[in-house]
Structure formats: structure tokens, C-alpha cells
Symmetry: C3
Subunit: 176 residues, 3 copies
């Protein structure tokens, strides 16, 4: 089976989504953007709009389809992954946070890791590196940081390529 | 025109200023230290004193001139940049924060990026990587993290060399 | 004298302890785990239990001895270091925090750096990278971030190998 998974990590505004979009476009495959953000509040809409504008700016060359799903990543990926398609999941951070808030993190995480044993095509995951600051005060935030960190480790282990972006520049952590 | 720009990023106390001073001294050029900190409060004075002591300790070999400017970086750089001079700007983080507080960030940022299209000599920018922790609560802090991240991307794109320091050790992100 | 010191830095849940344990086991030496955590509160016991479980899972192949010491690292290391032993110190972050709270940081830090001029055997230090987020508000937290950063620089300078872990993957900062 032809499959290639990659994880692009980076701090806030480190250029990880831009790198992910670039790499997706370079695959020459059919492109699907799977957004975990939904246009809930004003600030989030603004962030989504910003991402959309950038994708549109690059749409001269290629066409993106868009799906929004805040929680059921494994399900949506299973329905949509195919050998000649590149799916960009942006971003896992929000998905982890959504799942923790909805109390379904363990199930959703296991479902995704299980799905990744057999999904075809190219899948690019974008996620925030959030563990390199001071350990935050609240127990919920600490749980979020812990779960993000653990999950990044698990996902990195099954990805073919892992990259950290800093100031828009890629730092290779794992090579195919 | 002979010009070389570099960006040295790093976390708090990661050795970025020390590396920048070392690299500046290795250029063999005339040296100008452009500080964005001004001796406002007690803690900041203490930090400035610490930096000054380290520079003086290394002054056996070379001589630093000092300028302080919290906001108008583009203007001061334009007045002082010359082909045989190395200017160390330490640090951008404080400058970004100063500009945001004075509501002149957009203008100052554009002025600096425009100036960098034509300034001669060697310029080393030092800045804090602040985006790899948990996304902070306050809207102003979030704006600061966002603007820092975006600006690091823009600056890194026009710099000839970009380095991340961790535990005093340099990690090359972009090579000349 | 046969000695090899290494520092493994990483964000929260970045896989730094796992990497350290792996490397320790690969030395083929007698293994000593020096924990700076003591089972004070519920959350900390939980974290300690998690670490213990992982070590036990890998104990099929080798045997770990365990010591707990929250403050006097230099003393315990001096008593236990020997040419054919690998000591894993996990983690420095908590030790720095403990020392700051007990107002003995300067002495303990100097004692450790002095001890490291002559301790035999293989010593692996694990510590959290905490400086890449927004500079925290409280003066004590800021002091912790500053002291951690400075100490990582000093320790990295005397270590033979320094590694940053991200998503469970090692990034070499200094090679032997």
C-alpha cells in the first residue's frame, strides 16, 4: 500500500501551516484540507480567515477541498483517505483540546492511531509544540500539555517524516 | 554591496546574546551594540548590567560602542549601518513589545523590513523564541506571540544566516 | 580517568526520560537512577509511578537501582559515581526548583559543577527546556527560568554530549 505520513511541529506562528501547504502542493496529488477549527468565536474566525487567504493565494496553481471536523478525525480520515490524495490536518492541537473538553480524548486518540495502521495516501499533520515553556499552573492546561507531548511522541513514531519549524525554517527531526 | 544579516533566536537565558557578541567580535569589524532596552526599572537595569559586564569582559580584544533605542530601529540602523561595521541589535523581542505598547508596530516593522533591502555591513539580530509554550491567556500577550512569530519568519527570510541557541549551543536553521 | 557526561533536554513529555533510560541501558554498565522527585503530593506520585512503570517494563534486560534526593545532588553523585556505573539524574528542573525554594541554589549549583570536574563513570542528566514560551509573570518563576537557562549553558559546556528531544526524537546539539 502506498502511504506516507508526516508530522510538522512548530511554535505559534512558526510557519508550520505554510510549510505543510507547500509540501502538500508539491505532492501533485488531489488536495484536501481537514480543519479542526470551526468558526466559533471572533478570534478563531479571524485565524481561520488568515489561513484561508494564504491557501487561496497559492490556489493559482492548485485546488484545495475543505472539510471541517473538530473531534472525529479518525472517522473523517478513514472516509476520505485514498492513494492519490494528500490530506492536510490542521491542527492537532485544537483537536486534542476539543477532545479533552468533550471527554473523549482516549477514544479519539486510539481511533486515530488505529486508523493510521492502514490509511492510504499522503497525510500531513500539523501541531503546535507547546511543551517548551514553563509548566503552566492549571491542572487542565497541564493535562493538555502532557497529552499533547505524549501524542506527538506516538504519532512521530508512526510518521515517515517529522519536521520542526522555527521562524519559518524547517528543522528535520526524522527523515524518510 | 557588501551586506550580511543574521538572526539569532533562543529561549530565555539560552546564550543567544553571548553567541551574537562572539560572532560580532569574530567579524573583525568596528562594533556597535544597539540596545532596545533602556534602564527603566530595577530588574531591567540588572539585566542590562549583566549584559554590559559580559561585553566588558570580552573587551580586552575589541571595543564596543553603545546606542540605546527602544522603538526607531530602522532609523537608527539606517543612520549607522556601514560596510565595515558590525551592528548587534539586542533584542528584537523588547522592541516588538515596545512598539506594540506604543501602537506603532506596523509602521516600525515595515520601516525595518524596507531598510533591510539596502543597509550595508554586517547586522546581527537577537530575539527570543517565545512561541513554544502554551498559548497564553491574555489577548495582548497572544498578539505579542503572534507578531513575534510572524516577524521572525519575515526576518529569517531576508537573513543570510539563522541560528537557534539551546543551552548555549548553536543549532543552524539557515546557512549562508 | 574514564568519564562521560551527557545532558538530555526537552519540553514536557518530549520523551527525554525514555531516551535517557535507553542510553543508560545501552552502556552495559551497572545502572543507578537518581530521582530528584520525592512522592510529596498526589500528582507528583502519579508522575513518579509513570516513570517507574516504564523502567520496570524495560527491566527484562537490565536492573536499575534507585536513589531519591531532592537537593544534595553533588554529594550523592560523589558518593555513588564510579567508573563502571551509569547514573541517570532525572530531573534537574525539579532539583533547581527545590534548591531555589530552599534558598540553597548557589551553593548546590557550585557544588555540582565542582564535583563534575572529577566524577568518574557515565552520568546522564535530564532537564526540561522551559525558556521557549512567553516570559512568565511572577518574579520567582522568572528567576527559575533564568537560573535553569544559565545552568543548562554551564552544564552543556562540561558535558560530552547534549541532545534536545522533540516528539520523542533526538536532535543532537553537541557530539562527543
Amino acid at each position: 500500500m502506498n502511504k506516507f505520513y508526516e508530522l510538522i511541529l512548530g511554535g505559534a506562528r512558526s510557519g508550520k501551516s505554510r510549510l505543510a501547504e507547500q509540501r502538500a502542493e508539491e505532492t501533485g496529488m488531489e488536495l484536501l484540507y481537514l480543519a479542526t477549527a470551526t468558526a466559533g468565536d471572533a478570534e478563531m474566525s479571524e485565524r481561520i480567515r488568515h489561513h484561508q487567504e494564504r491557501r487561496q493565494a497559492s490556489e493559482n496553481s492548485r485546488k484545495w477541498n475543505l472539510l471541517e471536523e473538530p473531534i472525529r478525525l479518525a472517522e473523517i480520515l478513514s472516509e476520505n483517505a485514498q492513494a492519490d490524495r494528500c490530506i492536510l490536518v490542521d491542527c492537532l492541537t485544537l483537536w486534542i483540546s476539543n477532545c479533552l473538553h468533550q471527554d473523549c480524548w482516549e477514544q479519539q486518540k486510539e481511533a486515530l492511531l488505529t486508523a493510521l495502521e492502514k490509511l492510504p495516501g499522503h497525510i500531513i499533520f500539523v501541531s503546535n509544540e507547546t511543551g517548551m515553556g514553563v509548566v503552566p499552573m492549571g491542572e487542565l492546561t497541564r493535562q493538555f500539555v502532557d497529552e499533547s507531548g505524549f501524542f506527538h511522541q506516538q504519532l512521530a513514531a508512526v510518521c515517515d517524516q517529522v519536521t520542526l519549524t522555527v521562524a519559518g525554517l524547517p528543522l528535520t527531526l526524522k527523515e524518510p
